[in-house]
Amino acid sequence: MAATAYIEELGEKSLLPPGTTFNDVTESVARVTETKAPRGWWMLFLPSVALLGVMVACIGYLLSMGVGVWGNNAPNYWAWDITNFVWWIGIGHAGTLISAILFLFRQNWRTSINRFAEAMTVFAVLCAGIFPALHTGRPWFDYYLFPIPNQMAIWPNFKSPLMWDVFAVSTYLTISVIFWFVGLIPDFATLRDRSKSLLRRRIYGFFALGWRSSHRHWQHYERAYLIFAAISTPLVLSVHSVVSFDFATSVIPGWHTTIFPPYFVAGAVFSGFALVLTLMLITRTVFGMENLITIKHLDLMNKFMLATGMMVGYAYAMEFYIAWYSGNPYESWVFMHNRLGFGMLDSDGNWGPLWWSYWAMVSCNVLAPQIFWFKKMRTNIPVMFIVTIFINIGMWFERFVIIVTSLYRDFIPGSWGPFEATWIDILLYMGTFGLFMTLFLLFIRWIPMIAIAEVKMTLPHAHPHPEDDHHQPAAAAVAPAE
């Protein structure tokens, strides 16, 4: 991976504890897939499968009854479904950022967490896809969204940002899966070579695609990895930008905003890091990975959350500034009344009834991460666990606030309407956690959850004998024989 060793002169230190050997890395990662699952794994897996069952039941109920089982109704045509979609898509962005952008920037600390985050990207996108697919109302006609020649002689409307969404998200899923798989090939080969039974050897051997770790293999592999990193990098920015266009290209006050694309991307990375960290803290403890995912990694991730949390906070503030500066009374109304919840009473003499969702969002997303200014807090595992949970909740509320508090009271008071979630809304959202966690737990059980080969490259002995003659400048090297 063209990994560079740490530079002592710059005060950099080894990422992993000194004395970590190649074998330590292989052992601690591969062992998870070769031994019986610890009790902690089962304690998470069984409830996850149960939740997955809830999801399947909810979808079955929805298909038999129609989307009316959700709380969506005029004027709130978008509610929990789109909130959940945007939330899950956002979760995925941490994986792409870590695997692509941090790779291109040669951030070696990514090696301990990238596999993990990439897997989450794939699973999160799968969860996200469920919501818009059901939201169409008649999911069996979802193929209308794709440009398939058909006998109705109609074609998707490419002027609609909802169509851009279809392509942004499906591209994202495809590239994420391929990128994830390419990175896994050498590790699958490691598992294959360690396997004792023929079946296991064949299964891992199938996925290892005949990897023999030859020079030529590595050369092709590294080139392929670099290319996929380059393809994925724009996706970090484009996917959530396109998702934000669903809102920004409309005329609804609170949606019609040019700040949305960067604001959504920052929020996506923010929420993605939070969920990666939440799950990593659990996995790290359950499988004893403290030597590979060190406090230093966690510290760096917390810094990321602090930075992206501030960006999101800036966007929140800027929305208010623009609402005032634009002089648009509808825009001001949405922000002062619907979101902050004060300023104007409605006809019943009530404040905006969803004011609490805005304040939940601000306290979780802007206030909670401020604790990470202190190194002591950045390296305190219980604190960061709690903060990541807050951020996960806050980022869900962000999407809820954007969607519902913009829609439920817009231009004409006559078309206002309250929103109330139904049980199916809630259970289906919970159920997607079941899908996500089931896939995730199967992943950490059967697939190397840390990139073995990449972590090894960051170890000092991956850069052999630096004082050696072979590594002197060309002038000092022995001239080749005539």
Partner: protein
């Protein structure tokens, strides 16, 4: 150590060929067998009375609107009541065995249960009068002509059918084909029931004027109201 037999090297090739073949087969099945052309055209159910359009509309030359009255002024094309049949058959072949169900309906007052052949789904709105009433096309020289869609454009040569069958794939793509380019299917409003009408060169040269006059909707709401 080999963990896979050597022949497995062909697996990618085999999979690629299989995927290509399967994809092609599935596409063909949908494109050919699931097409409205295959599913609809030729549907000719048996009717309670062996009524021959070939005889009545073809040989005898009765105008369509003698039985399907006011079709050019109403949304629906009515199926004639027993009274229309008896208007002639009270005196023409009054004893014919093949007309027994008609006389029975006449005596009891129970309508004949004709089987409907052309039936659009409920989610598509169709209005016969919109297609047949005629729109005024103005030529460059200022002369005017009223243009409409002829019966044959959708129903085929009814005057040659012993038993009426669906002649065209009455489906969305087929409707849109004409809505996007109506010119070739328009004729003078006086000729709508003329089964044998053919456009002359002069008529064809004015197709664009005719199309502009009818200006059919192409948006969803045109038919899905």
């Amino acid at each position: 150590m080999q963990i896979f037999p050597r022949q497995l090297n062909y697996l990618p090739l085999v999979l690629a060929v299989a995927a290509f073949t399967a994809g092609g087969a599935i596409t063909f099945v949908f494109w050919f067998y699931f097409s409205p052309k295959n599913l609809q055209v030729g549907y000719a159910p048996e009717q309670p009375v062996p009524y021959s359009h070939r005889l009545h509309a073809g040989e005898l030359g009765i105008d369509c609107r003698y039985c399907h009255a006011n079709v050019e002024q109403s949304a629906y094309s009515m199926v004639p009541p027993t009274q229309t049949c008896m208007g002639c058959h009270a005196v023409v072949h009054p004893e014919s065995a093949r007309l027994a169900p008609v006389r029975e309906s006449w005596a009891t007052g129970d309508p004949i249960e004709w089987v409907r052949i052309h039936q659009l789904p409920d989610h598509s709105y169709f209005n016969h009068s919109a297609h047949l009433y005629g729109a005024k096309a103005v030529y460059e020289d200022g002369s005017e002509v009223r243009v409409a869609v002829g019966c044959t454009s959708c129903h085929g040569r009814i005057d040659q059918m012993e038993v009426v069958a669906i002649a065209e794939p009455i489906a969305m793509g087929w409707c849109l084909e004409c809505h996007r380019n109506p010119g070739p299917n328009l004729r003078p409003v006086e000729e709508i029931t003329n089964m044998a009408w053919e456009p002359d060169e002069e008529w064809v040269s004015h197709q664009e004027d005719h199309a502009r006059a009818v200006n059919p909707p192409e948006h969803c709401n045109g038919c899905h109201r």
